[in-house]
Amino acid sequence: MWKIWDFIKERRKLFGGIILLAWSFSLFTAGETPRLSPGPLAKVPIALVSYPQRAITYSLNGLAGIGWSYFLLVGVEAENQKLKQTLLELEANKFLCRETGAENARLKTLLHYSLANTYTVIPAQIIGQSQNGGYLSLTLNQGEGAGLRAGLPVATSQGLVGRVSEVGFREAKVILLTDRNSAVPILMEKTRSQGIARGTGDGKLEIRYLSRLEDIAVGDLALTSGLEGIYPKGIRVGVVQDVRRKNYGLFQEIWAEPSVDLSRLEEVLVILSEETK
């Protein structure tokens, strides 16, 4: 008995190393299954990293803001002219919208449609980001305390950003739409045909499983279809940039640009639930 113990003790680095490697390998392979939020023990080290991360990120954003505000002044005159032109166009559109709105209200009353669906959202700031070989994630400054949990969709007013993958006390990790692990069920706004938007890892989306017969063109909008149950229906996902139809195969090849400029995100909205208010 003692001989076995001595044998193990003499080779403790070897045995310890094998145990650690086996443990880390099991973590790695288990990581491919849907992940749960880390347990309470993991939240302490996450907090130890996220607080200084938050401080550095806020400081950097502050410094960048000072620098940018100078450079932005240079383009203010041109931007002002452009905004005036946009305002004129919007004024013209307003008259059209007023008429459409009145028509919409009448039709809703006819259909006994109560109120539009709205979402309960939590605003969050981005305090960190990570990029590894096409796998992209963000860290938010809101966590479990604010009601966040893994799987919640993240968006801005422009469209979908991604979904929450892990949650700490006061921070959460978000897997971006363009991450190579990401797949979102979509619905083409024009044709109502359904497909899947996969992240390519280089800032683009590949829309799959749209029949060659569907009339998809550059500029068409892809929306969330709401089928998977993670993303609410109707959120903008991306705009078609390139369509290729080969002479063979069932589907066409479609690439899209995300509706949200993911490289310039500062704040996002985490969609907690889809409720009728």
Partner: protein, 168 residues
């Protein structure tokens, strides 16, 4: 002070830098793996079971705050640590060529892992373009940032009067 606390402090510092300051630099694939510079040093100077446990913990911490595949960093960190530790007993491991070779090998292994792991899980997956540029950029980034940082770490090590690796 016990080496484990010093390395833990360095590890925490590098992880914080990696997920905050370096995350904002527009480096793309050339973004360096700061924690792995420390692990290289630990493989040479602190190649004990205690060092391995600490490396596992630091890799796990990096997985928690930033990882595409949960568990990948702790696995890569341990493999890199044991690899460096094993080789360091056979070659002169406190020299620039060793560091450069170790960093280059690590960069290649890491990128290949990221590129091919989804394909291993699902062989039908198309491999994305840009593998060679990613390999070149990651290796370049790790060498450009890694060598000066390792030099600095060794200077700090010698400043605190460390002569040789402690043995368990």
């Amino acid at each position: 002070m016990r080496p484990v606390l010093i390395y833990l402090g360095w590890g925490w510092f590098f992880i914080v830098l990696q997920v905050s300051l370096f995350a904002f630099l527009p480096l793309g694939e050339a973004r360096p793996d700061l924690l792995f510079f420390l692990i290289l040093l630990m493989g040479v100077e602190f190649g004990t079971l205690g060092g391995a446990i600490l490396v596992f913990f630091l890799g796990y911490l990096l997985d928690l705050v930033s990882s595409a595949f949960f568990g990948l960093n702790s696995l890569l960190a341990l493999l890199f640590f044991f690899g460096v530790s094993w080789i360091s007993h056979r070659v002169d491991s406190r020299d620039l060529p060793f560091w450069a070779a170790a960093l280059a090998v690590f960069s290649v292994v890491e990128i290949l892992f990221f590129w091919f792991w989804p394909w291993v899980l699902n062989p039908g997956t198309e491999l994305p373009p840009g593998l060679f540029s990613a390999l070149a950029l990651r290796t370049l980034g790790n060498l450009v940032f890694g060598l000066p940082i390792l030099k600095l770490l060794y200077r700090v090590e010698s400043w605190r009067g460390k002569e040789s690796a402690p043995q368990l």
